[in-house]
């Protein structure tokens, strides 16, 4: 199992370490998931997301290749912007969901899920080869990039003097953050809060982590683990690969159409998605009564029929009630039930996201 450059920091902060996509990462620290979740919602939390992969695409045809490889549009994207996109199989199922950073003309970086890193790299390289974009240089730079996410309304105050991106989903390259040389800072995150993701060399990661927490202490910032990352993203209704997104699920069923540009001339998976009407839809639900529904629970309709499944479920620390994202049959209109340990509970549909910050 691999360690991130911040392993020692996690151990000394009381991190409860687990195997996540081949990396030893903290699921929580001594304060616990709920305290970490609240810190991010009310103040700020610092995450080690160095396990995420970074792949660069550069050279003649890089932009045109991305237009074909991914579902979102990049031709109208200025340098310094970040865009969420899906990467699909020809079947319309998802290879991965990614963030695309435009660094310049035909110069991009994409951030991918840790568990998919090798698969993604091979997929991208083979797609470039097959589609004739042989001049695009594709590099997996993940091992030379550490990534810290500082999330929460106090994030900006914790980083005085740094050149920070002003708008959501933009980034700046280079510069210093709290006296440490960084590779890039983007105003992005996976929590539903304002915040920054800071790309830094592995050598500088420990010093940056320590400095952020030392300055952040005054603002109530604490380190936060994978457990809080999951409850935060779930409240914000952000999809997670392997849960809401899978190779087997057509991407048109994930309620992510903002990132699928059907009017593009072509992209991998477009034909499959346009040929078939979506059969399922991603929706949110609250559990009525007691209990928590978890990923994989089957959804049952009024006649006892199977109408879908729970893709993510947890107790929402912000709402104080159990919440779930469902993959529900689009045509179904009745009451929805699920089983928890042999007992039936009813689910009540609610608009996503479960939580939206006040801007």
């Amino acid at each position: 199992m691999k360690k991130t450059p911040l392993y020692e920091q996690h151990i000394s902060a009381g991190g409860v370490m687990v195997d996540f996509a081949g990396y030893m990462l903290p699921v929580r620290y001594s304060d616990g998931i709920i305290a970490e979740h609240r810190a991010v919602r009310e103040r700020a939390g610092l995450f080690d997301v160095s396990h995420m992969g970074e792949i660069t695409l550069e050279g003649s045809g890089a932009e045109a290749f991305l237009e074909y490889l991914l579902t979102n549009r990049f031709s109208d994207m200025p340098a310094g912007k970040v865009r969420y996109s899906l990467m699909l199989y020809p079947s319309g199922g998802t290879v991965d969901d990614v963030l695309v950073y435009k660094r310049g003309a035909d110069k991009f970086m994409i951030v991918v899920n840790a568990a998919n890193r090798e698969k993604d790299f091979e997929w991208i390289a083979s797609a470039a080869e097959k589609s004739g974009y042989r001049e695009v240089k594709i590099n997996d730079i993940s091992d030379s990039v550490a990534l810290l996410a500082l999330q929460g309304k106090a994030a900006e105050k914790i980083l005085p003097g740094a050149e920070l991106p002003r708008k959501y989903y933009t980034f700046v390259e280079g510069g210093k953050v709290l006296g440490v040389d960084v590779l890039a800072v983007s105003r992005t995150g996976y929590t539903g809060e304002d915040g920054f993701e800071i790309f830094v060399s592995p050598e500088n990661a420990g010093r940056l982590w320590d400095n952020v927490l030392s300055v952040g202490a005054e603002y109530g910032a604490i380190p936060a683990g994978l457990g809080a990352r999951d409850t935060l993203r779930l409240e914000a209704a952000m999809p997670l690969y392997g849960h809401e997104l899978k190779a087997e699920y057509p991407a048109s069923e994930a309620a992510l159409d903002f990132a699928i540009k059907y009017d593009k001339a072509d992209f991998i998976g477009k034909a499959a998605l346009t040929e078939r009407a979506p059969e399922y839809i991603r929706v949110g639900a609250l559990v009525k009564g007691r209990g928590i529904v978890r990923e994989g629970s089957v959804l049952i309709g009024e006649m006892g029929e199977t109408i879908g499944e729970v893709t993510s479920g947890t107790m929402s620390p912000t709402l104080g009630t159990a919440v779930a994202m469902l993959r529900l049959k689009k045509a179904y209109g009745g009451r929805i039930f699920a089983e928890i340990r042999g007992k039936t509970v009813e689910l009540e549909l609610t608009p996503l996201p479960f939580y939206k910050r006040n801007k």
Partner: protein, 118 residues
């Protein structure tokens, strides 16, 4: 009254032929924040080492095993609305009380249990 511990980190506080059942401080730490306790049903019988119920932390559901055999005669209904007390004060929070059908076997004293954690 005497308190005994199981290898699976539950405790039994024994008073005559009735045992109050809870989880150890160590178990509570391992579970993380408890957000839901599925209470067992009064009248149900359980074997020693059998699954008594499940508690849910934010991340996952974990089984709780019964350290003794017998019939459940009382459940701690306060846990329905305040499951977090199982995290904050585990050694003084019982989940249920069991009327024992046999003498408890294979349990550890507190000193033995604490030594086993090292």
């Amino acid at each position: 009254m005497a308190k005994f511990y199981s290898k699976t980190h539950e405790w039994a506080l024994i008073d005559g032929n009735v045992a109050a059942i809870g989880i150890s401080e160590y178990a509570a730490k391992e579970l993380g924040d408890v957000v839901y306790v599925e209470l067992p049903e009064t009248g149900q019988t359980v074997a020693a080492g059998g699954e008594l119920t499940e508690v849910e932390s934010v991340k996952a559901a974990s089984p709780i095993y019964s350290p003794v055999a017998g019939k459940i005669i009382e459940v701690n209904a306060a846990l329905e609305d305040a499951p977090e007390t199982l995290s904050s004060d585990p050694e003084n929070t019982f989940i249920c009380k069991i009327e024992m059908s046999a003498a408890p076997e294979g349990l550890m004293t507190e000193a033995e249990y604490l030594a086993s954690l090292k």
